[in-house]
């Protein structure tokens, strides 16, 4: 499956329709069955779908948990309320509204657009703050957002009427309109997930460091997805306001947050279909448990009244899901995956001839000059100078603690030197990590950082997308899969592959974007003789295909001696030797570094 905007749009449409139809059937059926009361519940359910799917757009793709999206629903709802309520009502309710808002009276559609715009603006600001954060810090900030917005709504009495109900909102919401809004949101969320942006964001979710090293602009993408999801949540809030006609800040606070989180977790935060499933199951479950909690009489048995019973249900759902299936019931599965099984085209058989070399037309060399880097006062890299010419295969060896990893991190832009320079050609190495790949320098990692939940093909796709932005030749994922012997496992999740395949996939991924240089960090760790010999061939193929210079950091000396044209030996942060494999093998300083000083005397 290739990710492109047109395919994404297609997927979005198909998914939206496939999900909207059952929801429409269920809700319309219920409304028809139960009359006006039923329609209210139906629209409320649709609102939950809009909210949960919107939250999932951000949370599922970026991997950052948010407790604060309900705040955007609140902003949307209140903006809508203030803009579209009849001034007659407003003059009694919020007579002192600033900016003359008590006299403003927009039509419902105009009001909705303006309200969404307001939500978008707030989201742009908050997203800017949030985009570089991940994990607990980000979640705390979203929680703070929820509380601050709630506080503002409760206390800015002149604008919002405070904690008391804001009534008089035109209660014009109907089920068809709600369903229409929902379908649009489903489309956006579904399309985003399958789009190039979505794929890159998912890569950063699986491994932020690797994604950055492969050229993904994680913070930018988080920002975009955050704003999109916030606007979706705002839309949900607007629909809710138009349904209820009367709102209070409490409607958009912890209770709604609990419910939406439970729904998201149940179905699976990564899947749009999962979000919908979560809403349906919990809505039904909630109603059932509330009915039980009201103390119904069944035949001769009267159940006791259990207020809050439905909340207990919610809490237990969350706990059980986190313990048993943190990825949710549907995990990554989308409803249109069913269709794909019919339509799947067989993979084109690739010819046996090796791919033509796509060596860069403007080769550059990599130079490090007197690079120094400290950690807690100790110089891990202490004045290292080296160079790699286009197409060269260079080895970097040294005993434990020599600074090889630090040096590699410096050369790949993961760390910045305290002093000294690193240049690609005549330009310095970019300071922002995601620009390094675009400059044609790629790397692999010692403990294999693949995007484990993405398929093998998708792993490579991420980098080919990035490669398009550079001016070098772009290799197709299919070609790279063939060149590195991964066609058979192309559709399997990268985390499930055998070890050798994982190593090769990491190299293939780097090959897509490493037009000038590929840095390999201990590529044969844990392999036996046969496997490392195979990988040596893979690296030679990479060298031929890309014409890229290759730097290999390794402990396996026989591997390095058999592969590299030149070798640098590092010890205590300094280069102590440099030369061909034969020169290095017999250099007494190298011997001393590896097996200790006594040996030098013994080996005359």
């Amino acid at each position: 499956m290739t990710h492109s905007w047109s395919r994404a749009a297609q997927a979005g449409i198909v998914r939206a329709i496939m999900l909207a139809i059952p929801i429409a059937v269920l809700t319309m059926g219920w409304a028809a069955f139960k009359g006006a009361g039923g329609e209210r519940l139906a629209i409320a359910t649709v609102v939950n779908v809009i909210l949960v799917v919107s939250i999932g757009l951000f949370v599922g793709n970026s991997g950052v948990e948010s407790f604060g999206h309900v705040a955007f629903a609140a902003i949307g709802a209140y903006a809508m309320a203030i803009l579209t309520t009849d001034p007659l009502v407003k003059r009694t309710r919020i007579p002192d509204a600033p900016f003359g808002l008590s006299d403003v009276h927009l039509g419902v559609w105009t009001g909705a657009l303006v309200a969404l715009l307001i939500v978008a603006i707030v989201a742009v600001f908050i997203g800017f703050v949030l985009k570089r954060m991940s994990g607990i810090s980000a979640t705390i900030v979203t929680l703070a957002l929820l509380i601050v917005v709630n506080g503002v709504l409760n206390n800015w009495v002149s604008m919002t009427g405070g904690a008391e109900a804001f009534y008089g909102i035109p209660a014009v919401m109907t089920l068809p309109i709600a369903l229409g809004a929902m379908t649009i949101v489903l489309f956006v969320a579904g399309a985003f997930r399958s789009s190039p942006m979505g794929l890159q964001l998912q890569a950063s979710r699986d491994d932020a460091l690797a994604a950055g090293a492969m050229g993904v602009n994680t913070s930018g993408l988080r920002w975009v997805s955050f704003v999109l999801s916030a606007v979706g949540a705002g839309a949900g809030g607007i629909v809710l306001a138009l349904l209820l006609g009367t709102i209070t800040p409490k409607d958009f606070y912890l209770t709604l947050t609990f419910i939406t989180i439970a729904m998201l977790m149940l179905g699976g935060k990564r899947s749009t279909s999962g979000a919908v499933l979560g809403v349906i199951i919990i809505t039904i479950g909630n109603e059932v448990f509330r009915w039980i909690g009201d103390g119904p009489t069944l035949g001769t048995v009267t159940f006791p009244q259990l207020p809050g019973f439905s909340n207990l249900f919610l809490g237990l759902v969350i706990i059980i899901m986190m313990i048993a299936r943190p990825k949710g019931l549907l995990g990554d599965w989308e409803i249109d995956d069913v269709l794909r099984r019919w339509r799947r085209q067989p993979r084109p058989t690739v010819g046996v001839e090796p791919l033509e070399s796509v060596a860069s037309a403007s080769p550059v060399s990599l130079r490090a000059d007197n690079v120094v880097r400290h950690f807690s006062g100790v110089a891990a890299v202490d004045g290292v100078s080296l160079h790699v010419e286009p197409g060269e295969i260079v080895g970097l060896i040294g005993p434990n603690g020599a600074g090889k990893t630090t040096l590699l991190n410096l050369l790949s832009g993961v760390l910045r030197p305290d002093s000294g320079t690193i240049q690609i050609g005549d330009r310095p190495l970019p300071t922002k990590l995601h620009r390094v790949a675009r400059a044609g320098l790629a790397r692999t990692f010692q403990n294999i950082r693949l995007f484990s939940d993405l398929t093998a093909e998708e792993n490579i796709e991420v980098t080919t997308m990035v490669a398009k932005a550079s001016h070098e030749a772009v290799l197709q994922p299919a070609d790279l899969l063939a060149a590195f012997g991964l066609v058979d496992v192309a559709d399997r999740a990268a985390g499930t592959l055998a070890y050798g395949n994982q190593r090769r996939l990491e190299i293939a991924r780097a090959a897509a974007v490493g037009a000038h240089f590929v840095l390999l960090d201990e590529p044969v760790a844990g392999m036996n003789e046969v496997e490392s010999r195979e990988l040596r061939e893979t690296i030679r193929e990479l060298n031929r295909l890309r014409g890229a210079g290759i730097i290999v950091v390794e402990h396996d000396l026989s591997f390095i001696l058999g592969l590299c044209q030149r070798i640098y030996v590092l010890d205590a942060g300094r280069i102590i030797a440099e030369g061909t494999p034969d020169e290095v093998r017999n250099d007494p300083k190298v011997i001393e570094a590896y097996i200790g000083s006594v040996a030098a005397d013994e080996l005359d």
């Binding site: 929680l143 703070a144 503002v152 409760n154 969350i318 706990i319 986190m322």
Partner: protein
Amino acid sequence: MSEFLQQLVNGLSLGSTYALLALGLAIVFSIFGLVNFAYGELITIAAYMMYACSGLGLPWIAQAVIGIIAAVVASMLMDVIAFRPVRHADGTTMLITSFGVAIAVQAIVTIVVSARSRTVPQPEWSSESLSFLGLTLPSYQLFTVIITAVALIGLVLILQRTTFGLAMRASAENFQTARLLGVRSNRMVSSAFALSGLLAGIGAVLILARTGGALTPMMGVAPVLKAFVAIVIGGIGSLGGAVVGGLALGVAEIALRAYLPGEISGLTDGILFALVVVVVLLRPQGIMGLKERLRT
């Protein structure tokens, strides 16, 4: 001047409560890596247990003790039932699990007792005022400061002078190395949860004294959020930071409420939370925290 001093004492007393609560939250975090959202429910459980005891006619001191014991037990149960199974999951899965626990416990309390507000009768002396150094202070404030000080001193003594405390400090610094020295990991985790429950229980007693015994099923939510803010400001992972953060928060809250003009003073909570965002941005490790502690 005396007005200022009274506000200061008020701030310190509120801050002491926050410090105690923050410490309870921080202990579990530093050993287990979990930010326990359900911590507030321990307060609720302790308070409702005191209510139940008052219904049985037990003297106040017995109520307090039983309430605290209930919090300890509840905390250890939470560990075993809900958190051990997700022990190896990442931080956000654990955070959400604690969220689920919080909701479930609130629901159980609502079912067992009812959603209506109730009151736990407070002892006579807690609503009296004392004359102290020329100031007229509500006695519960002094009570809070004294109890917190005693609790903190006790905690410090345990941590510094006992082998158990030694093991706990080692576990908080580096769990793996502590195990290599023979510290039993399961026991440490249970102890951390128990200690956390103890502090929550004491916190509940102090909160009830301050609010005149008001009880609602959601009463634990606001304190846990404040404790959250306190540890972020003071430094996630630092026990000393939790105390400093709590005190700072209490004083700031009282200052804002007292000295901000009328309409805005209601935004105090909002301002305090906005402060969290500022701290997270500018100094993510808080006042006293260490950068490595943040489990991102």
